[in-house]
Symmetry: C2
Subunit: 351 residues, 2 copies
Amino acid sequence: MSRRVTSQDVADLAGVSRTTVSFVLNDVHRFSIRPETAEKVRLAAQQLGYYPNASAKALASNQTKNIGLIISRAPQYIASDPFLPQILSGLLDALKENSQGLLLEWVEPGQQLQTYLELTRAHHIDGMILMTPRLDDPGLRALEEADIPVVLMGYIPGSSLHSVDVDNLAAAETAVSHLIKLGHRCIACITNAALPYTSATQRLDGYKIALQKAGIAFDPALVREADFDIRSGYRAMKSLLESKQKFTAVFVASDNVALGAYSALSEAGLSIPDDISIVGFDDIPMASFVSPTLTSVAVSGQEIAIESYNLLTRLMRGDLPESRSVTLPTRLIPRQSSREIGRRGKRGAEN
Amino acid sequence: MSRRVTSQDVADLAGVSRTTVSFVLNDVHRFSIRPETAEKVRLAAQQLGYYPNASAKALASNQTKNIGLIISRAPQYIASDPFLPQILSGLLDALKENSQGLLLEWVEPGQQLQTYLELTRAHHIDGMILMTPRLDDPGLRALEEADIPVVLMGYIPGSSLHSVDVDNLAAAETAVSHLIKLGHRCIACITNAALPYTSATQRLDGYKIALQKAGIAFDPALVREADFDIRSGYRAMKSLLESKQKFTAVFVASDNVALGAYSALSEAGLSIPDDISIVGFDDIPMASFVSPTLTSVAVSGQEIAIESYNLLTRLMRGDLPESRSVTLPTRLIPRQSSREIGRRGKRGAEN
DNA sequence: AGCAACTATTAACGCGCGTTAGTAATGATT
DNA sequence: AATCATTACTAACGCGCGTTAATAGTTGCT
């Protein structure tokens, strides 16, 4: 149990003061240090295997070098989320460059305020990214006034917080229009999540607008709510089928949920796209590997993560961006699961 | 920009000393405090919205209240990992009870030593869990000597570090035996990852042993290596098909990879399980929702996470468990993707 | 020589908290 | 009455580091 190596040890070995060590290792150029001295210090540090204590550094500098990713969902809802790894992938990649750490947290509905206060006031993190925020999150107000940089992954109307998101409404509209162009008129919709999640509401709105523009009446009986995971997609589709409503296509606002819908359709002996066309959302990796391959709206989780991080770092540096929100592009990727109405054929033949 | 609230403020308002505040808020019973005094302190703290500064607390107590989850993989390899969310889900759930934080890190091969040293010496975390460790990780030795609790998610032969894992070898053997019992003799294998990952090696070994016990010669030409993601499964299966080797079943040591294999088979016009039987590994949520549903070895990511965390907390408390490693059960779940050889029938008919 | 203007370095303070050693006040025991 | 134990609290130090204000050392200029 060897004693911990402190900057004093480095100073002693190098024959300088602790201050000099700090200046050298932190590249403080304001006070000039002779190159040979700096070299001596660096050598001593390396020789001793010196790593500055994170807590002490954080305390003295008032910077933890950690950012927080807060997920507004209970753990059981993230267990089967194929989108989260993409976010993490992008974030971890970006963080490494600045040698920052990522603190992962989740908040349960009802505890948001408490959690945010704890996180910001206790200063565990220098900035935070809020994933899938909820419209009814009472803690957001507190964050607006907290003196810590915050970026929302997802848009909250009326909030003064900065945000990064795709244009969910337009993307959903494009997806549904795609189905309409293929001749479909009876189009059901399964949301990606409960409606307090803005992305769910926006995508549903996009669906409605597309219908409206095509002069199709919106029918609430054709809408089901899912909640992130596959099982909920399975249930939603089953419920649609059992309702005896007629429809020839379904817009499912999440690929993961869509794959649950696949399962329900297959179980019912219905063929995609011969009987039912499906359009998903997110373009998760699996979308191009299931059978039939899933038409989807491509959203890059990595890109959202990187963009969020960039925005956050700018906020942390103090230079306010001109715009409050960054909107990322989406792209509809037609695949086998959506097809002209009435047309039948060997699946995948057109690839 | 209101000044930060410190414990001194609380002390002043309550009319006691800072020490007393500390005793009350940290439930230090060694020095008894009169109940009324304690109540005064708690009230003052609440009134001021006092949250103890995490860095200062960490520095003084030598405990960060954070544990680290280290992933031995580059970000692009985690982007499509459906198993990671399960681990995170379990871990986050367990952590909340002890109000600890989760610091997520990844290490790139070649940087392990450096990263581990930084993480432990700089004392960012109180303990660490190492996910998917590699056999050839040169940093593990250093961790054995570091005075920080470490738990490996996955077994490394010869390491003195504690570990939590499923019995990969036995599980793989069971999976392959299942195929053999169904009459298959020519069974290919696609690994879940590169062989330096022990889970990959062990599962491959299980495959070999099952063959051996059945008196089937091992043929290296029937083995392909994948690396976590779907695409690699697609490639591996494609390579198998193009090799013109004959086989009637494939053991794929990862569900995610197996779904890539599904795609390649479907593209080649082959039917599962009529032409080829498939057994996967992990039983990710999607396994029971794809078509045909995927026979798999059930491994609970949540359980692994929770067990790892329990082990870690015990190590952090200082009471060494009797055994160095915890082995979790697995269970083969037969589904539609594996079927008696030669038998043909309508897919899913037996459900 | 004398003064200013740098350059290189350090002493010393503060960040906010945990904790030990010690004090004052009260009650119990001889 | 004197001693001791117990209760209820506090003064003061240390955790390891960043940083400011001050100090010695050097060079340039008149």
